[in-house]
């Protein structure tokens, strides 16, 4: 009771209406956002016959885990996750390192023509993948590298320019004195990058890494071009194959594939959600 006395005594009715409207809209929106997931999750437990009969039922009448068994039989699901991780891990580890090293040269060293160089590198981001993949496909297929993960891994190893740009700005906030002191002590540039810069860079690298991870996990275009054999596929094109069985009519099967492919991401997201939110606003440059 005392608390309410401390607050402003007069609440305008318009403010209360605004608050009620806000809650109503937000709850409606939250339902719209969550409902498709709920529907997907419940459909995975339905027998196929239930999904192709008239009338809408949210919950399965008969609960069955048949679709889960079928997914593992129809596509090499575990292999798909392994393949996806085989792209994720080297690209993010090596790519983040090369990005950070490059950013270090831009931010803390006397790099000749730094401005022009950065502008040229960044102009590369403007070029859509659609204008690059035809020659890439020709080159990789002449090297017999289709159905191989290398076409998906190689480009990432050379860094990510949007990450470089972000790291340069982040490094601007780290005092130069640290590196000058190291220089006087006879510490080489690479050493001062590894021992002084990198430890300070973790929050920035993690923020960018989170979205890079997401981007690779969700990549469909490039994998769908290079990978045609199920054993070679990453998760996204692999799950798409489920749609081809029964002409996409086996809804529980398709939903199970969709559900399984999103569970890892959603789990990571729910655990690290705080991190995602701050990373999102940092990455877009709006603090």
């Amino acid at each position: 009771m005392e608390k309410t006395l401390v607050r402003k005594p007069h609440k305008k009715p318009s403010a209360i209406i605004a608050l009620v409207v806000t809650y109503a809209v937000m709850i409606l929106l939250a339902i719209t956002m969550v409902f498709p997931y709920l529907y997907m999750a419940l459909t995975t437990f339905k027998p196929m016959s239930e999904t192709v009969s008239a009338g809408f039922k949210l919950f399965p009448r008969v609960w069955t885990a048949e679709s889960y068994k079928e997914v593992w039989e129809l596509v090499p699901f575990g292999r798909g996750i392994l393949n996806t991780m085989a792209v994720e891990i080297p690209v993010i580890l090596v790519g983040s390192f090369t990005s950070a090293l490059g950013a270090f040269a831009f931010a803390k060293m006397r790099l000749p023509c730094a401005r022009v160089l950065l502008l040229v590198l960044m102009s590369g981001m403007m070029v859509p993948f659609a204008a690059l993949f035809l020659p890439q496909y020709r080159i990789y297929s002449s090297m017999k590298l289709t159905n191989n993960l290398l076409p998906l891994i190689l480009p990432g190893l050379f860094g990510n320019i949007s990450m470089v740009f972000f790291l340069i700005q982040f490094m601007g906030g780290i005092p130069n004195a640290l590196f000058e002191a190291a220089k006087i002590d006879g510490c080489g540039y690479f050493k001062s990058f590894v021992y002084i810069m990198l430890p300070l860079l973790w929050p920035a690298l993690a923020a960018q890494g989170v979205f890079w991870f997401l981007g690779i996990w969700n990549d469909y275009f490039a994998p769908s071009i290079y990978l045609t054999k199920p054993e070679a596929m990453t998760l996204q094109p692999l799950i798409n194959r489920l749609n081809a069985t029964q002409g996409g009519r086996d809804f529980p099967l398709v939903m199970t594939g969709a559900f399984l492919s999103s569970i890892p991401l959603i789990a990571v997201y729910l655990v690290f959600q705080k991190y995602f939110m701050s990373a999102l606003s940092i990455t877009s440059g709006i603090k």
Binding site: L19, M33, Y39, G124, A130
Partner: protein
Amino acid sequence: MERRKASKLVRREKLTALAFVTPLIVGFVVFTLVCMVISFAYSFTNYNPIRGSMDFDGFKRYTELFTHPTYKKAFLDSILNTLFLLLATPLCLTVSILIAALMNNKKFRGKTVFRVIIYLPAVTSVVAVNFIWRYMFEENYGLINTFFHAHIPWLTDNTLIKVAMIIKNVWGGIGTQVILFMAGMQNISEEFYEAAELDGAGPVYKFFRITLPLVTPVLFYSIITSLIGGFQIFADVELFAGGQYGSRTIVHFIRNYGIGQNLYGLASAASFLLAAVIMIITALQFRFNKWVNYTD
């Protein structure tokens, strides 16, 4: 002596710095520059790796895109489809900015929970989002038609398929945009609102006169990134629409005629036109930056 030693040190620093950016430069040259040049070169030929042809044809591929009886319709329709699908951008941004403004209410509790929920689609696998919505839009057994006791051919009609894709993409895009707008709105000083309230301003006035003008930097960023993404829609065509004709985008055209039918010249010409459009949009970003309000 001292100066020579110093200049030697500077030179060494410059060389080391260059070595550090070498991976970035190599990546850019190999995967962007060289491929772009090759792609550009393809567009002036009749390159077909199956027939083994590669003759210089001038601008013939470019004119074929707009005049050739077989490709003209597919190409022009893919442009129209892509433009139609871009309608998702203004819809999504309008909805998002309104939601963000509602959530920006200081008395509103549970911001974190709602933000986490709204952002879910952005962290769901692309295939999953497309499959869920494909199932919900299904004509006979889909949730939407069953719910309204209707038989709307969402997935087979050339126009409705695009409407369905727009609905799906607005749903999927709201999360990211709301969080960006909220971040932008939190930067707006409380004083502006207090001053307006003293003058008796209502919520609508405050939204249009304070909130909206001051989030223009975010709005601008969102418009540009959404447009650039919108011009490159591909996964939706295969995963959501199953390649249905009315859903086919420019990137689908490029992939279909390039890798699918081995008409590399034609596909490259189309890809170059797309690249030009995207570059123009990005250039506009720099040109019209003045129009945006920056408070600091």
